[in-house]
Amino acid sequence: MFAAEFEYRKAGSIADAVRLLSENPGAKLLAGGHSLIPLMRFRLARPEVVIDIGGIDGLRGIRISDGSINIGALATHAEIANSADVQQANGLLAEAAGGIGDPAVRNRGTIGGNLAHADPASDWATVLTALGATVSLQGPSGSRTIAVGDFVEDAFATALAEDELITTVSVPVLAANQRAEYAKMAHPASFYAVVGGAVVVTMDGDRCTAASVAVGGLTPRPVKAAAVEQALSGTTLTMDSIADATSRLSEDLSAAGVDIIGDVYASADFRSQVAPVEVKHALLHAIGLAHH
């Protein structure tokens, strides 16, 4: 790669990284590099300073306590996919991580970098929104915690201040009566989501007592599907009731007031038409109605 000239700095700690960010306005953090480096290679990003956070131990690791899975920002998709604890506590997390990109991408890309980059095609943004996850941010004046659904503000735009970094992503452990699934139509080149639908349903026998549904890939930021959730809650889940509920996704997409993304691979119209199909697939898998 022939990036424009930049200065390389290595942060030794979270505090060090925050200090370097404050001292160097416009600097970019380097985690897995899978989004930043392509941009620099095309010279679309030309940061004067690149701060490598890869050596900060405090940003690593996955810990489960008090019903919460706390994932360090530097955890790679592969680490999350392969963690037996995560698989146990929240199978959707592991499964979504395992469906990102390809092995090389999963071995380098991090959950923190993924959220901070806020690509509309990100799997994490959609899945973590449905799961009600939060991110913890550290800045010069302290830390704060914010829901992923609020953190991602628009395509490639987040609530991060210039001098803040993501330290942790916290995800609830799924309860015994909760089922969660993610279905995506993957772009055949990158495996980024063309359309992704994530669902979490709380079940009482065959009856859904609560549902959390988010779609992404087709929208600048994940859209919470309140109409679909409402149609699912209190309903006995069958092929028909699921089809009925997911058909209400168009209401949610209009209510969100966002532009539907279209590109050379998949038009906006097609994406909005198949989004309910992906949500339906996720629900059928979640409750075991899909045959493989």
Binding site: F2, E95, P188, F270, V274, V277, E278, H281, H291
Partner: protein, 805 residues
């Protein structure tokens, strides 16, 4: 020796260095004093250049020189096209290495910067100011030929590069008399070849010696030397071209490009070695593409499905300029193959080569033959539907009867040998065709749509007789050469003119040598890719290296065997007629103890203390082999797919190949070639396509957008074979490098159409994206059975999980 080394699936000796990163590619080479070039490329598909200001770039840090089109004028000749199709009114338009006045595609070179390092060169590119006056662009080859289209070249009115017609029989009469006619419009989309190694060159000009050395990632170093001589004016014997490890080509490394000529120019101007290596982004814009046809094709048949005629009108996009072999692809390698494996009495191919504002095209694996196979198989399916017979039955009624020595086809070429129905029968057995049809019926009732597609093919390769090459306008010969030297120690070097780059001939040619003269295969080393050390040859493309170059090796070994026999007779004091040969031993008939090994004889030949009279010292021979005919591999492939009507997602469930390339020197290498070829063809059917916007900008400009096939999207490919030797080849071999690609696009496409038949979908453009499939399903009025079959989305990942795809 009990098992023959010929036919044994030994491991490729190339692989250890390749898979451990020890191979040395052009970009790995570092010369003392070497500097670096970067090329400024046009961001416009078509524009007039009103001015270029290079002042700031010239004074930037580390910059040694900046050159534009004005600097090369009169110094660097235009890039020649080497395939002037006769009787086609071919317009050999000027193809300057650096554009001057007008740029004609996004990627056309505008200037080059040479700097101490590549970063400085890239920085300086940003400082060059070009005053472009954008002109309207045209991308679609049919539209480019139409009225009012933007014009690319003054010398090529209506953007017509050539117009070529080939015909046999009376096609018009056959169509007039036909009980059934079917037609189709086929878009053979533009494809990007994507070799793992991008293009790269290092030029080193020695002013004192007047010699140019060019390291170049090429499939054909001797052709590269020849063309370099024409472009630079350096005499051919003063040019050395070296193809180090070459990381894949697929046709895209046949051409001699402007880029290595620019690199040579820079070195000759500056007197220091200059390296240029393409970035992947540049590769997408500036390395040749493949295919790009708009085709109108028709087939005529009797009421029982016997095909009587096929005809086409093809608009073949050439891109902005004519690349080295480009005109030969939609014509000689495409139009002449309209009979395929079928007995068709009347054939007409009507092909327009058309300039468009896009990256020039060149051979891409299969080159012309995948397109021919695709249209025949597509039309064959339609004839079957029209007369109401199954897709297998319609093929069976049309296949040429088995023959083992020469069969003329209507278009005027002669196939060498074939047993097409046998390949088809084998295939049907492997897939369990009848069972599949039975199950399919049942599944459809439950809203599951599976389909099977069959592609029978016969292709032309082993290019080819040089006399024919001349007659069809190819600017060179198509023979191959080999020199084999057996040293005093019994070890063997084989020097070949052709230039493998991943296909495995360092292994398979050693097997030929070992088989012919009984040395251990590990005692043989194959040398290629350097014009100073190898005999002249025409390179690797058109599945010709084993067929033509391998034959040259085998014939050379037979010469050496004859010489060894004479020496053996002398040493054994026996009559030459009494000397027999088996497994590396020359012995007296009836007295196997009285023997000389090939190693003994090689020692004697090399020291020459006691040679028979009239026998020259040394154990070396050469062959220049010009094949009497092309070779015609054939086979039958089947794909089984499922289509999810909910979201248009296609899953490739099974792929079975039966290929006949004659005797196999190394079945494992054959299998590898089939695997790679099949997957590349699957790419065209399902995922790949270079998409441009109306302004000629490439929208699929990176690997994030252009989908080359991924391993986990492809099932295990089941590879089978039949063996029908070529009667004219010394080894009987026919070529296997392209068969997979030639058959698989057609087989997979046909399978998808078969799956969608009950829904009423009749035509789709490739690649078969979910959106295209889903939209067609909707347009056909399918509403589904309401219930959830849910195989069909990428649920996750590429490792074992219940519902991934």
């Amino acid at each position: 020796m009990t098992t023959r080394i010929f036919g044994s699936g030994i491991r490729r000796r190339e692989d250890p260095r390749l898979i451990t990163g020890q191979a040395s590619y052009t970009d790995d080479i570092k010369l003392t004093g070497m500097v670096h070039a970067a090329i400024l490329r046009s961001p416009h598909a078509h524009a007039r250049i009103n001015g270029i200001n290079t002042d700031a770039a010239k004074s930037a840090a580390g910059v040694l020189a900046v050159y534009t089109g004005a600097d090369i004028e009169g110094v660097l000749n235009p890039i020649p096209c080497a395939w002037a199709i006769p009787d086609s009114d071919l317009k050999a338009v000027a193809y300057p290495a650096i554009a001057s006045g007008v740029v004609r595609y996004v990627g056309d070179a505008v200037a080059v910067v040479v700097a101490q390092n590549r970063y400085q060169a890239e920085d300086a590119l940003e400082l060059i100011e070009v005053d472009y006056e954008p002109l309207p662009a045209i991308i679609n080859p049919e539209a480019a030929l139409g009225d009012g289209a933007p014009q690319l070249h003054e010398d090529a009115p209506n953007n017509q590069a050539f117009h070529w017609v080939a015909a046999g029989g009376d096609t018009d009469a056959a169509f007039a008399d036909a009980a059934v006619t079917v037609s189709e419009t086929i878009r053979q989309q533009k494809l990007i070849p994507n070799p793992m190694e991008t293009r790269s060159a290092i030029a080193s000009w020695s002013p004192a010696m007047g010699e140019l050395t060019l390291w170049n990632t090429t499939q054909n170093p001797h052709i590269a030397r020849f063309v370099t001589c024409l472009v630079t004016g350096v005499a051919e014997h003063k040019i050395r071209v070296i193809a180090p490890e070459v990381g894949g080509g697929f046709g895209a490394k046949i051409a001699v490009y402007p880029w290595e000529m620019i690199t040579a120019f820079c070195s000759m101007q500056l007197g220091v070695p200059v390296k240029w290596t393409e970035t992947r982004t540049e590769n997408y814009l500036a390395t040749t593409h493949g295919r790009d046809h708009v085709e109108y094709v028709e087939m005529a048949a009797n009421a029982d499905g016997k095909v009587t005629a096929v005809r086409s009108v093809v608009y073949a996009g050439m891109g902005a300029y004519l690349s080295t072999a480009a005109p030969g692809i939609p014509t000689i390698l495409h139009g002449l193959m309209y009979s395929g494996p079928y007995d068709i009495a009347n054939i007409k191919a009507d092909v327009y080569g058309v300039f468009t504002n896009s990256t020039p095209v060149e051979a891409y694996r299969g080159a012309g033959r995948p397109e021919a196979t695709f249209l025949l198989e597509r039309l064959m399916d339609k004839v079957g539907d029209a007369v109401g017979i199954d897709s297998v039955e319609v093929r069976r009624r049309n296949l040429i009867e088995p023959f083992d020595n020469n069969r003329d086809v209507a278009i005027g070429i002669t196939y060498d040998s074939g047993n097409y129905s046998n390949a088809l029968d084998q295939l049907l057995g492997h897939i369990g065709y009848d069972r599949f049809r039975h199950d399919q019926e049942h599944e459809r009732e439950h809203g599951t749509f599976r389909g099977v597609g069959i592609a029978c093919y016969c292709e032309i390769c082993g290019l080819g007789p040089s006399q024919v090459a001349g007659a069809v306008g190819f600017g060179g010969g198509l023979w191959e050469s080999a020199t084999v030297r057996i040293y005093a120690t019994g070890k063997v070097n084989v020097f070949i003119g052709t230039s493998p780059h991943g296909q495995g001939e360092e292994t398979t040619f050693a097997q030929i040598v070992a088989d012919e003269i009984g040395v251990d295969v590990d005692d043989v080393e194959v040398i290629h890719g350097d014009t100073d050390t190898t005999p002249m040859g025409w390179g690797t493309y058109g599945s010709r290296t084993t067929v033509v170059g391998g034959a040259a090796v085998a014939l050379t070994m037979r010469k050496l065997r004859d010489k060894a026999r004479v020496i053996a007779a002398h040493l054994l004091e026996a009559d030459e007629a009494d000397i027999e040969y088996a497994d590396g031993q020359f012995f007296v008939r009836g007295a196997p103890d009285r023997a000389q090994s090939i190693q003994d004889i090689a020692l004697q030949a090399n020291v020459a203390w006691n040679l028979p009279e009239g026998i020259e010292p040394g154990m070396e021979a050469s062959t220049y082999y010009d094949p009497p005919n092309f070779s015609y591999p054939f086979g039958a492939h089947a794909a089984i797919v499922s289509v999810d009507p909910d979201n248009g997602h296609i899953t490739l469930d099974r792929y079975v190949a039966v290929d006949d390339c004659g005797p196999q020197i190394n079945p494992m290498v054959v299998e590898g070639q089939v695997h790679g070829g099949v997957v590349q063809g699957a790419g065209q059917a399902l995922w790949e396509g270079a998409v441009y916007d109306d302004n000629g900008q490439l929208l699929t400009g990176s690997m994030m957008d252009y989908a080359i096939p991924r391993a986990h999207l492809v099932p295990d490919i089941e590879v089978h074979s039949t063996v029908t030797p070529s009667p004219h080849n010394p080894l009987g071999v026919k070529g296997i490098g392209e068969t997979g690609t030639i058959a698989s696009t057609a087989a997979i496409y046909s399978a998808v159409m078969d799956a969608l038949k009950p829904i009423g979908v009749t035509s789709l453009d490739m690649p078969l994206t979910p959106e295209r499939v889903w939209t067609a399903i909707q347009a056909a009025g399918y509403t589904g059975n309401g219930h959830g079959h849910s195989h069909g989305h990428d649920h996750g990942h590429d490792h074992g999980h219940g519902h991934n795809h």
